[in-house]
Each structure stands twice: as C-alpha cells, then as structure tokens.
Amino acid sequence: MVQLNLPKNSKIKKGKYFSDKTGSKNIKKVNIYRWDPSSGENPRIDTYEVDLGDCPSKVLDILNKIKNEIDSTIAYRRSCAHGVCGSCAMNMGGKNGLACTQPHAEIDGDLDIYPLPHLKVKKDLICDLDGLYKQYQSIEPWLKSSSNSETSEIIQSKEDRKKLDGAYECIMCACCSTSCPSYWWNGDKYLGPAVLLQAYRWIIDSRDEEREKRLKKVADELKLYRCHTILNCTSACPKGLNPAKAIAEIKKMLATSNL
C-alpha cells in the first residue's frame, strides 16, 4: 500500500547548527540527514557552513571536509572517489547520484544531502541495501551454458557484444532503484530498475543459453510490470545508463515472443 508519510520514528527533527569559523566569504550551507542508532532519537538535519574557498569541486569533497575539519561523527560510505565503486550513492539536492561525481556548483542554494530514499537507515547517510542484493541474486547474474561449452571458449560476434553496451557498465550503486516511486511502494516484490537492467543484460547475452527461462522468470505482474515509465531511474543514473529502456526492451521481448 502506498505510504506517503514517514513512520513516527522516521520523522525528521531540526538538528545542530555548525557556524563557519574560518571567516571566509565563500560559504555554502550544507544540510545533512543524521541518525545515530545509539541515541534512540529521531533523525535530524544538521546544518554546516562550509568554506568553499578551500574545497574541491565535488559533493564528496564537502563531506570529507566536514568529517575532517568540522564534525568527525558523520558517517557515509565512500571508496574510490572516481564513480567506479558506487559506494557514495546518496540523494543530493533532491536527486540521487554519486557524491564523488556530482559537482556541488550544479546545486543552487543550500545543499541538502539525504541517504538513498525509502531504505532502512543504518547510520547517517548509510542505508541497508540487503533487499536489493537479494533481488540481484534472484535473477542469477552469471553465465549459464551447457557443460560441454564450459571447457572451450564461447565465441561472440562483435554485433552481439555490442548489445551489452549500456548494460554491463552498471556498478549497482542503487541510485536508480531508490529513485523509483514504484520501487518505494513495492520494493519487496518489484525488482526495480537496477536489477531489471541486469536481468536484461543476461537475457540479451548471446553466450547465455537460458534466455527463455530468464524471460519467463521475470515475466510477472509485480516483478516487471510495476514499471510505469516514471523515468526517474534514467535521469538519476550517474553512469548515464538507461534502465527504463532496458525494461521496455524486456516488455517488448515478452510481447513478441511465444513463451
């Protein structure tokens, strides 16, 4: 059922205010979602005044600066800082993206940073992605072929290889799935754009021999057809991929094939 309001324990309160101490004129106000599991209190929004005169260009740089210089208690995931690992996925300025590739200059006014939407929060900007990983496992994202080809190389033509472009680059950062209202309301059953893009990736792989089985598995009122082409996923993807188109292609395949 569609639940528009947040549950009682998730209502956001006003938090602390950290004033700028450097005296710089180039200040940006950064509002960050905070929740401490040990406090037993509701989440709050802390506001930090950050000196941009001495800060590199990305949102992750701002977070690092806050953690290093202002408030070391803030928790967030990060690793590669080059848009490859997908750890620092979060909601910045009302849109999901990777903090390490999102320039803060592109967000006008105050910078609002929230964790990925509609997930259980572990601490501050860290969310629980277990459900998504389980769904990813459910589509069996590995090559399936009969045993005699396991010992020899499976040849793939250049054209067939080209079909995987735009699907294999996905880093599973969950920006798209958590931007999808359908996934918010039906995340337990609907697979979501990230997992469906991967399902598509294995369906169109010419080397895979279980194409029909995969299609049948995904052909489900809730698993697939909860996509209502809202297209938040495509506009959120930090890698410029198009999960919405992949889902449309799966629907097209199901409509045109005799399963």
């Binding site: 929060v121 629980d128 297209l231 097209k252």
Partner: protein, 127 residues
C-alpha cells in the same frame, strides 16, 4: 523497539521531473476518465425517461460549475490521449533519452492545454 531503524525520506525530498509529473498525471486522469465515462453513460440513458431530465441536464451544463467540469473533463481526456500516444511510442522502445522524455513530456502538458481550448471552441460553436 525504541532503536528501530528509521525509513529514509522519499517522496518528501525527491525532486519532481517532467517525466514523473506526466506519469502520475496519466494515472490520475485515467481514473477520472473511467469514472466520467460511466457517469456520462448513465446520464445519456436518463434522456430516455423524458424531457424533464433533458432540461435538468441542460440547466446544469449552462451553469458555471457545469462549464468548469466540462472544461476539466476535456483537459483530462486530452491529456490522457496525448500521454497514451507517448506511452505507445515508449512501448515500441523509442524516446527514452533523458532530453527526449523532457521534450515529449512538455509536449503532452502544453498539447493538452491547447487541445482543451480547441475542443471548447469547437463545442461552443456547435451548441
């Protein structure tokens, strides 16, 4: 249960895009249209019961509220029609680039307003 993990905010903080706005409007106008079509069918069958009903319907349609409702329904139908065309094109696998969805989204929104005006003018000349 005091320490239960909270749910991160979703619709409260997510920015609206043209595509999401058109999508939700498509669904709302769809429901409205179903109700309206059923209603119109009942209304038309009421005419079989005599002239009094005709006069009553006529009186209602000439009132300000009646005109407003007709205009709203015209918009709802126009929007649904254009948005459905957009969806058919998408079902064929076209128009998924972010830029394209923005353009087609705006076309649906402005197109529906233009259609409403055109239908209203045509209808007015007939009645």
């Amino acid at each position: 249960m005091e320490n239960k993990e909270p749910l991160s905010p979703h619709i409260q903080i997510y920015r609206w895009h043209v595509s999401s706005l058109v999508s939700i409007s498509h669904r709302i106008t769809g429901i409205i249209n179903i109700i309206v079509i059923t209603f119109i069918c009942f209304w038309v069958s009421l005419l079989l019961l005599g002239e009094n009903n005709y006069l009553m319907i006529n009186f209602f349609l000439k009132s300000f509220l009646g005109k407003f409702i007709i205009l709203a329904i015209t918009w709802s139908f126009s929007f649904q029609m254009l948005s459905e065309i957009r969806h058919i094109i998408m079902s064929l696998g076209y128009g998924f680039k972010v830029q394209t969805t923005k353009i087609t989204g705006f076309l649906v929104i402005f197109g529906s307003l233009i259609f409403t005006i055109i239908f209203y003018i045509i209808g007015k000349n007939f009645i």
